[in-house]
Subunit: 305 residues, 6 copies
């Protein structure tokens, strides 16, 4: 995919990388420098993409498919991350979970003075224009495109079915989140990639401009960083900072086993719910549970090696 | 203003004062006595649970599965019951009808002074706390848990998937209605029990207190009594007073046969809709219909014996 | 203020004076004369029903089943038709497209003085009443009933399952659009006809009167004419003036082939999205596309003969 | 399906065919003929304007200024007029009542085929265009302009401050009601004419067309006829059919005196509210009230002569 | 499932059973006994009304007029009372504060079986009916009528102008709070009593029944107890438990003086806001402030004696 | 105000000015460099503040007080600026216009990893914390504080009455715009500074972090640049790029005179609205108008010298 790599190079030029001079970045309206990306995501325990974006490992992403929103909530607020959840979306395939690394794009209502500057730079760097396709062409396998289109319906349509198809190919079906709209719902709903959007509308994208790529964005009441693990289920979306991903999936193993044991006990029909849940009251039961947990955890975790 | 004082006295009488004994019931914040339950549901023609709650027979519940909202509406308003319908819910399994006996729970926003009293009493009686599980542990087969959580989303989550599973076992899959939220939508949606809720949210229940169990509650613009037959279809929910259940299902038989005959006639392709519906205009057709109705009613009702 | 009086006179002339013909009218509260229907739809290139309503040919309706909202949008606004789209409906069968000829009905909140006049006339002409069934009995195969019930929920229910069934038979399953409600959702959802509605409610239609049949009506922010081609997909509804139907379906062939080719190219995995979409940048690719388009168009259009 | 054809024929008859008179037409998209206006408002007991619109006398309009919404409600529903009230408006001067005769205008979303016909006719009659000013130029003293702009905000602005000023002059300050928007709120709010509108927006009117002048229109859930007495207070708007105006204002005299007496009694501080209101319980008080009412009614009504 | 039966027994105990005497109270649908009222408001440090309702002293009510919502918030959540604020009301006189003792009334949608019981009892005690006037006739000077009408607009109108006038007289102008509607807005807005309501509508109260008088009620997301100090300003309403009233007003004195000093300093124009607010950074300024506070507190509090 | 100047200097250090090193900017989460500010506002025809922010002259701000929203709209969209208007605010003093230079602040939902970085830097530069007061302390006379708090109500309160008072002093009463909330509405409403806000709530600001100062921000559907002329009237807010300010106020002179003449003509009572407005039809009138315009423009503009 050398084409894409060239494109990336040109973009980097456009966005002021190389950056021998102090000025470049022009960050607000565009992107973070690699140094800034690393600084803002300093707690990331994993590898990074060439532009500094954290790269949650594939193996953890695989385990994250077993999560539910509640299992993320079991960890994040306790660590001070209380603004990582967003809901109120239409969900394209409510029975398929969305898991991937956040690739963020921020739009603002178009303003010709700013738009002129953005596009002049883009062109100087070899891009035809700075638009939704410029961002889409940067996507990697495992990326979830996370777009702030400020809830716009008419003209706030990040993609139709052709670009949706392209994203599906480029990200290996990871997914799309847009606080805005999509078009071609008819065609898109036949494609096998998770998507969260506010509305569908037949218009093409218009009257907006890209103000940032891979910068912090706000989706509903959540603050999303590039490289966050995006997790979506039938309830809503969680944006999980890389530093907490391991803890979330490990803790979820415990919750899964706890649920498993709890329902076994309920199945026996001998107990009130409060005898068993959330913690068994009877010391013998408590012990039974703890042994069950230990054994099952071992079994489960064997598979991860 | 001795007039007002007299008025107060009369009110106290009206409201059942005399009250020579101390304390008892504490009803507003909790439950009805058996005597009150019987008084408030005096028209109930069926047996009762030990606590006085009406027990609509299983056989009628079975027949009620064939109802639609319109068939309930065909009877209730004519009897003065104009506030027994509620809609605007998310429906977990829109193609499965909900039928069961109302077991009601009312919550209010938590207030520490009242909550302290509630829990002190609960503990004095051997309960750890007065909370959602205390109510859930009282459920019987055929009960539908009907919860007023005043539409609360965050923290207004009556159950997650473990307690949902318990309710499904305890009620034999009868169902759940909550004017509030549930959590663990992911897990719950794989379980086979009807549920009507306003929202889903990952938070656990919090910042609320139980103010009544098996008392009259308001769900949307309906007033629900413990022991009402709860009926839910793809449109919404009806809370049917026991005294009207027999009439509703009997009348529905007629409607079913009327629909059957009407569509047969439409299938013939010879009539305008107004020739046939809602009443056949032609005397010969009218007679044909009446004979059909009579014959089919006999067939249908044979099965009930 | 003789100026104003002259103005009034000129208005009367403008508004269709001359009118030597007997045919008229009382139109506002009822229907267009055949002459008016023809005048208002003068651009119609197709045959007409006996009452002057345009009759888009069956063959074009068949081709319209392959459309999507975006393909209609690709033509209409460019021709000045910017108010032909409506959305925000509940869709009975979101995966089945709705295609048919608009048969319009307008309701207004009931007013006894006007309702009296309407019904007196209806009875003088042998109709029992002017009501929803009077309109429904006029439906033809291929008609879509398009009803302005001003979004009313309670009492704004154009049909229940019996009349829905009748419409399905009479229109050969073409469909129903109501800016208002339906009842009997339970029964209707088992029938195989597309329907777009705002709400479902158990009440029967009441407290409204028919103010026009086959007159221009407003559905959301769209103006619908009798005889418009109604097209509905998972996004919303388009009301296409007959004069533009041919162009819409012809243009859609091109779009379909363009999408086909675009995705083939994306499948090759060698290109960025902007290399290919919306127009191939490389002259060789452009030529390839044009040849592909030409060949496929020929293939596709062969089938239409 | 000859049945359906007959039905159609009967409908045409019902809808006013036969029509031997020359009386023009094209009504749906424009205006009622004088004959139609008279027919639709046949119960009007007062004089009429040259175009047939009922003319509630000035003296009754003057008395109507003393009304409140509740006093209109006291009469209309009992006469079967249950859809004459609309609220949810922004009110320009909430402390000034609006009273006047309805001059109605209906807009629809612009559609170039229909708009072309409308304007061709307008020009043939010497009008530059059929637009909001064409309607405004027809206003008479005492008229309230009642406009259905279907709640449109952007582009749904019936007037700005210059035309508002013109209407104020032409109607002698009677007023404006628009189910849509106004612009120039800044300037308009300094002018002394009542106005009810949904929103204010800076755009000029656009993307709409006039579909009817002095035809029945819907404002919220009310049906308004030309010549209705429009009454607005701080709560909302009532559209009173001329036939009921006298009864409404006469009955309001009784209500005013009843309120006067009730408060006098409350001022005495000797009574509970239920001793006095809504009807005095004590026979002596009842008699006192009846004498008071009789005496005051005479005094009040003396002034009307 | 003997476990569940034991559970039920314990619950009954917890909920105050023992109940050797028959019936009485019937509290849920009506009122608390004096004993219950005292138990539920056990922390009340003040006198009580004859029915046990706490009576916050007039002198503290007077001081409470100087409060703002923020000054209540400064105390309540810290004491665990996080659900005592409600907003989203229309405010009759936004520049006049509302202060008084809560007299609570709860309505539910009418249900003829329950309504029959309620009224039979009322009549047995000499009341004509149990309705809004029965409650209003119990009001005392300083009471604020706090009504849960579940946000109902049509028919949810607790009073019109006559009964509003009566309440004004009976409570000495203390005020009205209704989570529902009022009618006669025109007349009411000329009366000098604070009122908070959701909507205004011309209909009279209907289709509801009183389910409790002076019981805990929910207003928005607040739980209100009879005898709470109701405080309303331009933002919203606080329901202050009597036990916290003294602390709230005392603490507000400090806040007032702090604001006074802060603005004096800002007036000097020498400081950034953060030099002074919320706490002066400079030790000398801090000392100056503390001395000022001490002196002014003494002055202010002298007046309370 | 040397204190404020020091503060500014420290902020500048914190935000990386002087900027000899490549690191500085860190712009996304903070501020634009002076170079970026100048680049993004390159069309500014006026002087600049030391940080590069455009400084619309006081004299033009004075003339802007005579504007209305419509007069801004008369110029901006024609120049391609279609996204500069925002409405839907609560307006503190609807009869006082807001005019000033935009000083923008952007908040995002708090995220501890980012918040830690922001505050570490702030502290390294001598600021206690990066919070709302840090921004407020930078305000200059004539500045309008424009805050994106993403519509947050609880905890989204940019200021209470003390800081509102400070802003009033620091900006000489220019004003406040917050897409979020304020607290202390009671106290603030007695202060004489224009303010536009979404809601009022008693909570203090919390759970948010400052992500940018004097960067482009989105307010509703408008994109605001630091230094834009903010104009607010009873309808809403316009953010006018400096390059268009002169043209807007000059053009408004013409509109004022046009309105003046139009109403004079309407006052004569001889004309229909369309004779005069928007352009006089009669050539003689047209000439009269043009002469009037010329004369009055000269008079008006004399005052500007």
């Amino acid at each position: 995919m050398s084409n894409a790599r060239n494109h990336r190079r040109r973009l980097v030029l456009a966005f002021g990388a190389l950056a021998l001079t102090p000025i470049l970045t022009h960050a607000q309206l565009f992107t973070l420098t690699k140094e800034q990306m690393i600084e803002y995501t300093a707690q990331n325990p994993f590898e990074r993409f060439p532009d500094g974006r954290p790269k949650v490992p594939d193996a953890l992403m695989e385990r994250a498919r077993e999560l539910s929103s509640e299992e993320v909530l079991a960890v994040l607020p306790g660590k001070g991350f209380r603004n990582q959840y967003a809901d109120g979306f239409q969900i394209l395939h409510p029975r398929t979970k969305l898991v991937g690394r956040a690739f963020t794009v921020q739009f603002m209502p178009l303003r010709p003075d700013l738009d002129g500057i953005i596009n002049a730079r883009a062109q100087a760097s070899g891009l035809a224009r700075m638009n939704n396709q410029a961002a889409i062409d940067m996507l990697q396998p495992g990326d979830v495109l996370v777009v702030d289109l400020f809830g716009q319906k008419e003209g706030g349509t990040i993609v139709g079915d052709n670009l949706f198809y392209y994203i599906m190919k480029a990200t290996k079906g990871a997914g799309l989140v847009v606080d805005g709209a999509i078009r071609d719902l008819e065609g898109i709903s036949r494609m096998d990639m998770p998507a969260y959007f506010r509305q569908a509308h037949p218009t093409a994208i218009s009257n907006v401009m890209i103000s940032g790529i891979n910068v912090p964005v706000r989706i509903g009441s959540a603050t999303v960083m590039p490289g966050d693990l995006v997790f979506g289920d039938a309830e809503g979306l969680y944006f999980i900072p890389p530093v907490l991903v391991q803890q979330v999936v490990d803790n979820a193993d415990v919750i899964h086993i706890h649920d498993e044991w709890t329902r076994k006990k309920f199945d026996e029909g001998k107990y009130k719910s409060s005898d068993i849940y959330s913690t068994p009251k009877d010391p013998a039961l408590k012990k039974e549970y703890e042994e069950y947990l230990k054994k099952r955890l071992e079994e489960v975790r064997k598979n991860y090696k």
